[in-house]
Amino acid sequence: MKRLLVVALSLSVLLAACAPKALVTLTVMTHDSFAASASVVAAFEQANNAKVVFLKSGDAGAALNKAILTKDAPLADVFYGVDNTFLSRALDSGIYEPYASPSLANIPAEFQLDPQDRALPVDYGDVCINYDKAYFTAHALPVPATLEDLTNPAYKGMLVVENPSTSSTGLAFLLATVNHFGVTGYLEYWNSLRANGVVVVDGWETAYYTNFSGSSGHGPQPMVLSYASSPAAEVVYATTKLTDAPTASVLGPGTCFRQIEFVGILKGTSHLALARKFVDFMLGQQFQEDMPLQMYVYPVNSAAKLPQEFVQYAQTASQPATLDPAVIAANRDKWIADWTNTVLR
């Protein structure tokens, strides 16, 4: 018995000696679209003697709901990926620990939607209509410039959009129309879009790869609701080397909706100092410059330089539509329900 104890003791000492130096593990909860360069994350891990574990938790809505449901015993230290359409739900649920990061100094005030610094802006992207350049050239058709143009019979049946009750892209476009036509006018606009044969599908994948003629799925519609950065992705992930993007975005005033994504420290974290460092890191230049080609979004940090592909093929809207997150939160269910009754019934 005694000998057994000695063996066990010496074994455990041996094992402890062999184990690598204990690292602090930081858990970051995100949505499925999150991506980053391995080298960039490794740089943070090395500088802070930490290990970063990412917990992907479904789409943006599902990930946020999981964070809210587990706020008594949070699964992670940091939560990234709530956007301005979901921001109020996140803030009202009290999942965040405020943190006024020094990096905020480099971020324009228009992105800082939470005055209490619970949710800090990381990136933005414009939800815009993409069009198939070759189609418009071949048919000598002018590209629509405004939302009103889309109701022109010349574009009958040419636009595919996503359903706002199942897709964040679809919701963003619905919000753009609310912003442009007002709560009294947007349904009328959708009525005329419907009369002009707008096609509605449930998700971005279907819209882009099944219905859009400019994608590899070469579908029937030459216009799709996607992102202003999608043309750049078409070039980077082209099958054969391209000198020009096959698609482009409609960028007229008010036609795009600006999505801003936020990061925040989850209340109850046991690694507060490290979590703060990670937030600084996400807002810092290295990560901000890595994001565009990883997630096809734009950096909010004005010091961050854009990659060549973005400068050349992606554009941002000059006058994107925006709405106060609180207004969105108060009305989204009603707007979606009314939209459904107008467009789908």
């Binding site: 391995a38 994350v41 938790s57 809505g61 790869y209 400019g214 590899s216 992705a233």
Partner: protein, 582 residues
């Protein structure tokens, strides 16, 4: 040692007899132990936790009357499409099952494996396949437009009820083929021969002899198909489009997009209760219809196709199967090797070239992404999860299926409960896992093991429904005969039961394997990003624009199909001891 019984001895004897008594009372429940623990911990408890969050007495009153209207409308459509889909699936599946079980012809095992492949394909991939075939710019429409000089696509398929029904048939025919086919393969041919000798024509034999004997397996296939159609999600979203909504789709919208947990909880409860009611009806029907006969080992019933009429029918059926199963699937491997030239927007001038680039690209981490997974790792993850699911679901399912052959009253009540995981919404259960396994002592939410556990929940009903009819068909007198001839109980089991259930066991393993390989909904909610499965990897590629991403998704889907097809063929060819002998 004293002969006199001491008071302590008497006491211990009494305790012992109490224990024996307790055991004897518990013994019928012993096979249920594994499943009960598993279900309580990984199904009922998480489900109760999340339903309570949504449906506690205070939140219940926040559900508006409009919501009830919505719920009833959605419920009616869910029911309607599930009934239609199930009837169509049976209409195709029963003749094919008969064909496979009774006739021997070249390429049969390939065809059988082929019909099982759709069952595990993620809906995104199936939708892409159907679109390439029947979409507005699919082969058929383009061909018709070319032939008749039409300006617009003549066939409207995507976004119709027809698309939903066809996809459900495409997905679930394999359930009918396997369950009913297994039963058919084991039928005693002497009963039919006797009926024929007594002057019955083949049609009468079919209605009065074969169909009554097949009732348990037809019922089992119908209930599984029906519940799968009833809880349909991806098919409705991707092929039906936004004009259609089932309970499962509405639960997703309410739980994820609107965060209306009370309404999501109510809808989940409705879906669960319906599943329970269907299962109870099934159990009632099936206990009344089991007729033990003299089952044959598989293979003894097989005939060669000889007469010209038989050849004609066989050829027609094979052609129908190839059209339904090969055409939509063929576009995936095809898209994975063709390159679209850069001027893709020039209608009529799309130039195709063959390429292996998409497969090569799978091995390159072009953007240095931290979530990049080499294809063989993804295959390895998928296979590891699938293997665990097969082992776990067979280990838990076998004892229960055996116990259900002669069910006691309590077991009759427990029986329908086994079907419940099929009726639980993936979103609801996923959120339930999150609120249950996020703190000690159950802090398992980050464990990679949650994936095979979730898969086992879905696979178990299939395993049990595969095994139970086969076990029930064995007449007791066979076992008694073996025992009276001096066989020990294990020997009886191995020589009598095993040859008859081996086929059903393999079939159950195939179901567990395919369910695990293809499962997406629950997986995406619990999987660790470092260990993605093949469907998760496909979804990642499809979430960004670009021809290379699309091509890689198609390449991954082709890999998934190949892995699954190979797995099915391998499992079915396992030469387990006892196979083929009787």
């Amino acid at each position: 040692m004293s002969q006199r019984t001491s008071p302590e001895d008497a006491e211990s004897q009494k305790r012992f007899s109490i224990r024996v008594f307790a055991y004897s009372w518990l013994r019928p429940l012993l096979p249920w132990l594994g499943v009960s623990v598993f279900f309580s911990l990984f199904f009922f408890y998480p489900l109760a936790r999340i339903l309570w969050v949504g449906l506690n007495p205070t939140s219940l009153f926040t559900i508006s009357s409009d919501s009830f209207l919505l719920a009833s409308r959605v419920f009616l459509f869910t029911f309607y499409q599930a009934i239609l889909s199930t009837l169509l699936t049976l209409a195709l599946g029963l003749p094919v099952a008969f064909l496979f079980a009774r006739y021997d012809f070249r390429g049969k095992s390939f065809l059988r494996a082929l019909t099982a492949i759709p069952f595990m394909l993620p809906t995104v991939v199936v939708a892409a396949g159907f679109n390439a075939l029947l979409g507005p710019r699919g082969w058929i429409n383009l061909g018709l437009m070319d032939l008749f000089h039409l300006q617009t696509a003549p066939i409207l398929f995507i976004g119709t009820l027809g698309a939903i029904l066809l996809a459900h048939v495409f997905y679930n025919t394999t359930i009918v083929i396997r369950l009913v086919g297994n039963a058919l393969a084991h039928l005693d041919p002497r009963q039919e021969q006797a009926a024929r000798t007594l002057g019955a024509d083949p049609l009468r034999v079919l209605y009065q002899v074969i169909l009554p004997l097949l009732r348990p397996s037809i019922l089992a296939a119908s209930i599984l198909t029906f519940i799968f159609d009833f809880t349909s999600f991806g098919v409705i979203l991707l092929l039906g489009g936004p004009h259609f909504s089932t309970l499962e789709v509405e639960i997703y919208k309410q739980a994820v997009q609107a965060f209306n947990l009370p309404l999501a909880g109510l809808l989940s409860l409705i879906q669960l209760l319906c599943t329970l009611i269907f299962s109870i009806i099934y159990s009632r029907l099936v206990t009344r219809s089991v007729v033990p006969s003299s089952p044959r080992a598989a293979g003894t019933n097989l005939r060669k196709v000889r007469a010209f009429r038989q050849k004609l029918i066989l050829g027609g059926m094979v052609l129908l199967l190839l059209i339904l199963f090969v055409l939509p699937l063929a576009s995936l491997p095809l898209s994975s090797v063709v390159r679209l030239e850069a001027d893709r927007g020039q209608r009529g001038q799309i130039i195709y070239g063959f390429t292996a680039d998409y497969y090569k690209e799978l091995f390159i981490n072009r953007s240095d992404s931290i979530f990049y997974v080499p294809p063989f790792d993804a295959i390895g993850n998928s296979l590891a999860y699938a293997a665990l699911t097969v082992i776990l679901s067979l280990a838990l399912g076998f004892p229960v299926a055996m116990a259900l052959v002669h069910p006691h009253r309590l077991e009759r009540i427990l029986d329908p409960v086994l079907m419940l995981p099929l009726g639980a919404s993936a979103v609801t259960l996923g959120l339930g896992f999150i609120v249950t396994f996020n703190k000690p002592p159950l802090a398992w939410v980050t464990s990679p093991l949650l994936v095979p556990l979730a898969h086992t929940l879905i696979a178990l009903p299939f395993v049990i429904r595969n095994l139970q009819p086969a076990l029930a068909s064995i007449p007791d007198r066979l076992r008694q005969a073996a025992a009276s001839l001096g066989a020990s109980p294990p020997c009886v089991w191995f020589t009598v039961d095993w040859p008859i259930v081996v086929r059903a066991t393999l079939s159950a393993a195939v179901f567990a394997f395919t369910i695990s390989l293809g499962e997406f909904g629950a997986t995406s909610l619990v999987v660790r990003p470092e260990y993605p499965t093949l469907p998760i990897a496909i979804a990642r590629f499809l979430s960004q624009p670009g021809g290379l991403n699309y091509g890689q998704a198609m390449a991954m889907a082709t890999v998934l199909m190949a892995v699954c097809g190979a797995g099915i063929l391998l499992i079915e060819r396992l030469r387990l001891p006892g196979t083929g002998e009787f």
